[in-house]
Symmetry: C2
Amino acid sequence: MEKFFTPRGIALIGATANQLKGGYAIIFNLQQGYTGRIYPVNPRYEEIAGLKCYPSVAEVPDPVDLAIIFIPAARVLAAVSEVARRGIRAIMIQSAGFAESGQSGRDLQDKLLDVSRASGARIWGPNCMGLVDAHRKFVFSFASSAIWEKGLAAGPVSLVVQSGLLAAGFLIDCMAHGTLGIAKACSIGNKSDVDECDILEHLQADPETRAVAMYLESIRDGRRFIDICRQATKPIVVLKAGLSRGGAAAALSHTASLAGDGALVTGVLAHAGVTQARDFGQLMDMAKTLACYPRARFERPPRVAVITYSGAAGIVSADFVEREGLALATLSSDTMAALKSWFPDWMPVGNPVDLWPAIERHGPDKIFREALRALCKDPGVDLVVLHVFTGGRFAETDMEPLVEIARQAGTPLLCWVLGTRAAVRPFTVRTQALGVPVFREVGRSIECAAALNRPPAITANAGHAEKIGAACRQMLASADGVLDENESKNILAAAGIETVEEVVVAGRDEALTAAGQIGYPVVLKGLSDGIVHKSERGLVVLDIRSDAQLEQAFDRLSPALPSNGRCLIQRHVKGELEFMAGLVRDRQFGPCVMCGLGGIFAEAIRDRSFAPAPLARQEALAMIDRLKSSHLLDGWRGQAPTDRNALADILATLAALGLADGRIQEIDLNPLVISGGRPVAVDATIVLG
Amino acid sequence: MEKFFTPRGIALIGATANQLKGGYAIIFNLQQGYTGRIYPVNPRYEEIAGLKCYPSVAEVPDPVDLAIIFIPAARVLAAVSEVARRGIRAIMIQSAGFAESGQSGRDLQDKLLDVSRASGARIWGPNCMGLVDAHRKFVFSFASSAIWEKGLAAGPVSLVVQSGLLAAGFLIDCMAHGTLGIAKACSIGNKSDVDECDILEHLQADPETRAVAMYLESIRDGRRFIDICRQATKPIVVLKAGLSRGGAAAALSHTASLAGDGALVTGVLAHAGVTQARDFGQLMDMAKTLACYPRARFERPPRVAVITYSGAAGIVSADFVEREGLALATLSSDTMAALKSWFPDWMPVGNPVDLWPAIERHGPDKIFREALRALCKDPGVDLVVLHVFTGGRFAETDMEPLVEIARQAGTPLLCWVLGTRAAVRPFTVRTQALGVPVFREVGRSIECAAALNRPPAITANAGHAEKIGAACRQMLASADGVLDENESKNILAAAGIETVEEVVVAGRDEALTAAGQIGYPVVLKGLSDGIVHKSERGLVVLDIRSDAQLEQAFDRLSPALPSNGRCLIQRHVKGELEFMAGLVRDRQFGPCVMCGLGGIFAEAIRDRSFAPAPLARQEALAMIDRLKSSHLLDGWRGQAPTDRNALADILATLAALGLADGRIQEIDLNPLVISGGRPVAVDATIVLG
C-alpha cells in the first residue's frame, strides 16, 4: 500500500497535452506538489507540460512505483498487462466503464484482476478519483483544478469515499469552503482489489491522520472491517448509505425483517466502536470533532456545560443536549460562587451559563475566561460548548487563552458561532487551527459533542462456535428448510437455551393427556411446517385452564389444522415482559444477533439492537444497553428485574449457533417471555438454507 | 400596530451624538433608509447627525407616530408619561433592566403599562431590538451597523424573535451571509404589551410577508395564538425553546408527566397548522422553503423525485426521504421511457434519478431539463429535489429554464448544492432570487421538503363545554383533590365515557357478592384516595376466576389496604390493546388532551399526542393519526380494528370536561382497554385543584 501513498515515481498512462482532458489534469495536479519523478506515457507526444513523454510504460526508467491509468476502458486491460510486466506493483485505474456499467464491464474488471493477481500487483479502482495527500500536496487525480482554489488545507481528518464523483465534488466543497483540513482523501471507486479495509489499515498507521471519515455504500469484507475497526486506535466515522433498502419484504422472520432498515448496520458499527453519521456535512463535522479530541472517553453520557451570550441559544442548546442523550452538567457550589461573583445580583446562575449581563459589566474577554476556567475546574463538567458572536461592533473574541484553559484542564471545547460574513470564516479557520471545532448550527454542535461519547471497544472472550455441542449440531444437520416451532425449540434447548415445556400431540385425547402432565394453564397451538405467523391465522389459544376449555379450544382449532392434525400443548408462561431475540445471516457481516421488545412491541416500535457474531456476554450486555427501552428490564411497576446475564447468554448462544452451522439463515425467538426475571423461549423458528 | 411599522415621524428619546452609543446607532440606522421625519430628543444637544434635536418630546412637532425610547431604565417611566402626554400612541422601549432583571424591574415594567393603558398607547418591548423592514430599508433598532454590510437583502420571510440579543446576532448572521431575504424582523423583547399574537396578526396582512418564522420562549396568550395560527393564510414556522423543561417530576398523572418534554407544545403547534423547527438555521430554512411554496398542499406525504449527478448523494437522499416520513416517487412508464432514451443501455432508470452517465453523453443543461420536464409531468411526482455541483471546470448550471419548467408544472423544486467557495454563494443567491430554495446539506433539503407537508388546518365544530351535562358538573362541584378511581370513573361515565362495570366493597363478603353480580373473571383493587399507582404497590389482582381465588386474593391484599378497607370489584376486561388518554391544564394553552398507547407502552415508548381543547371528532382523529404507533389501531395480528370514532369521542369529551370545569387539573384514563374494538376506561384518576 505504501507505494500508492508515497511512490518514488509515477507513470501516467493516458497523459495528454489537451488541457481540457483529465489526462492533462492529472499531470497538472501532480506538478503542483508531487516531488517524485513524473513519467507521462503516450506515443503521440515527445513532451507534455515540460516533461519527457514515453511511448510505452516499458520504456519508463526507474524509479517508478505507481502507474495511474486513465484511458478508455477497452484499452485498460492491455495497459495493465504492460504495467505489470514493467514490474510496477501499484496500479491506480481512474477510467470508468467497468463493474459499475453492467455485465460486460464486470467481466472486463475480472480480467484486470486476473492479470494483476498473477503479477502480484495491487489495483486501486477502477472508476475512482484516486488520492489526495494534503500534507504533501500530492494530488493523484483528474479532479478539477478548483481543488487548488485556496490551496489544499492540510489537517487531521482522512476521508475515504466509495463514490468517485461525490468524492471529487465533496472534497472540492470541503477544501474550497476551507473550514476543515484534510490529511488524505481516498476515492476507492469500484474497489475491485484495494478496498476500504486496506485503506483503513493504512490510515490507522498514518501519522498525519487523527480521525477517519468514510462514505460507504457497501463493505466488501464485513468481518475484516469489524476487526480493523475494533482494533483501531484512531476514531472512525462512517456514513453508510442505503439503509432504507433491503430484502425486508421477503424476510420470513421478524429478525430478518427488522434488519432491513439500517438497524443491523447501526448495531454492527456500534459493536465495532465506530461513530455513525447520516449526512455528508455531518460526517465531516463529526470527524473533525473526533480529530480534535481523539482520546476523549467518557464512562457515561458526557455532562455538558454551555457558555452563551444569549439565553435563547442556551435554551435551544439544552433542548438538544436532552435530545442527543447527553446530560446538562450540574454546577458545583464552587463554580456557582465563582460565576456569581461576576454576575449582577438579580441574575441567577445556572447551566447554560448566560454571560451577557456579566459581559456588559466586565467585558467579554475577561468573563469568558473566568467562566471557562471555573467550568473546566468543575469535576461535574465533562465538556464545554461555547457560543461566540463575531464581527460588526463586537470585538474579536480572543480564542487563544480560552483554548489554552480548556487544553490544560483536558476538557473538550466546542464552539458555535454567529456573526458577519466577513468575520465568521476567518474566526472558524483560526479557531479550528487551534484545535477547537467550530459549528454554524446549535444542533450540530451538540450532535458532535455526542459523537465524542464513542461506543467503547470491548475486547472480551467471545462465545464461539465451539460452544455448540455435537448433539445440537447433529440435529441441525438432519433438518432442512423452515423448521416448525417444536423442532426449532428442541435445537435451541440442545444449545442450552431455556424453552417452554411442551408436548406434540396428534388428537384431542393426546392433548388432554399432555395437559394433564404439564398442568393447567396451558396453550394449544397448531403445528405446521412453514407456518410462521400462527397468531394471525387463529392457530393459537392461550391460557386454557381446564379439560373442558381444552376440548372446546381443540374443536375450534381443528378445522384450521393441516392434514396431519399435529398440535402443541405448552405450559402457559405468564411473564412480566415479552422480549424477542434472533439471528440473521447478513450478506456483508455474516451471522448477526438481534434483540428487542417482543409481542405487540415489535409491531409498535422498531426498537431493537443488532451485533455481529461472535458475542461475549459483555458484548451482548452492551447490545441490550443500546435498546432505547432497556430500562424496562430493570423492573417495571414493581416487577422483578430481568436477569440481564441470562438474556445476554441467550444472545451469545445464538451467535455461536450462527457460526457453528452456516446453513442457518434466520432464527427467531419471539416471544422470549421474561418470567420471574428469567427469559424463556415460548415460540421459535429456525430457517435453514 | 400600523404606527409601529410605518410611522410618519419618529421621536428618539435617548438620542446622542456619541457615535459609540446605541442612541447614535438608532439615528444612523434611521438615516440609512427611513423616509419619514426623525426627531432626536435630548436637552444636551441642538443637533445630532444633521438633524434638529429637541429638548423634550413635548416640543416635537407633527407628524410623529412612534417614540423610540433608549435611556437607562430608571428614567423610562417619566419618558413614557411624557410621550403619552404628547399623544404618541406607539412606544418602542429598547432599554433593558425591566422584568428580565428581577422583581424591581418587574414592578417598573408594570408601572409603564399602567401609564400606557391609561393613555391608550401601545408599548413594544422593553428589552428589545425593535424592528427591521428590509423592503423599506427601515431599521428601528440600535442593532450593529454590521447589518448594512451587504445592504439589507429584502425577501419574503418575516422573523419574530423573543430574545433581543439573539434577534440581533441571528439577523446580522442571516443578512450577512445573504442566503435569505427578510421581509420584516421583529424583536419583541419582554413583550409587556405588544406580543407575538399582535405581530403575527399584522404580518398575516403584510403584503411583503409570504411566511413567518418565530423564535419563542413563551407564548403569552396560548388560546389566541392557536386561533390566529389556525386562521392564518401564510405558513408559520415556530422554534419553541425550553421543551426539555417542565414540572414533569412533580406531576401526579401520566398525562401531566408526559406533557413535560415538549410533546404538548408539538401537539398544539400541529393542531394549529404550524410547522415546528428545532434549530435556528433550520427555522430559517423551513421558512424560506414555505415562502417559496406557500400554497403547496398534499393529501398524503409528498412523493419525492431526486435528480442527482451522484449515485451516492441519491442514496443518502433516499435514506432521508424515508426518515422524514416522505415517499420516494414511483416513476410512471412514460417517465421511465423518457429517461431511458437519454441513458446508456447498461444504466437502469430509477428514482433517485442518477443523471451522470446521461450528462456525460449529452451535457448537463439538456439532460437536467429533459429529466425535470419528464418528472414534472409525472402524476406520481409531488416534488423534485435537484442536486447541483457548481464551480471549477463545471459549467454554471443554468437554473432559469429549470425553474420555469417546475413553475409551469406547479411542482415545488428544491436544490442541494456542492461546489467551490467562489461559485456556491452566487449560485445560491441567484437561484433563491428565482424562488427556489437552496440547501447545503442533503438532510436539510429533505427536512424542508417534509416541512412543505404542512399539518392541515381543520375547521370543524368542536365539542364544547356545553356537552357536559348538569349531573356531571354537579358531581365535579362536590368533589375535591385527587379523586379515587371509582369517583373518577363515575364522573367520566356521567360525561358519557364508557367505563368498566365495578362495585365498591368493604369486606370479603361484599366482594364475593359483587363478583357474583358481575360474573368472573374479575379484578380486585384496593381503593384509596390519592393512591395513583396501585400496581406498583401491589394493590391490584387481575383475572380472578372463582370465589376461592377471590378469597385468597382478598386475604393477600387486605394488610396493604388503608384503614377503611375499601376495595373495588371490577369486571376483568380482556382487551387486544391498552391505550391511554388524559387531560392536563397547561399554563400557556389551557386544557390539553393527550392520547397514546397505555400500560407498559407508556413506560417503553413516549409515543403520545396532544391537542388543545376544544376538540371536534375530526380534530381528535387527526390527533390519533399523529401517533407513531397509530397503525396498531388498524388491527394487529388478526385482531379487530379499533373504533377510531369512539376513541376520538372520548378525547373530545375530555376536552369538553376541561372547558366545563376550571378546577380540573389532570385527568388520566390509563389504561383505556380496547376490547373488541371498543375503548373502555378500566382505570382513571381526576385531579381537582
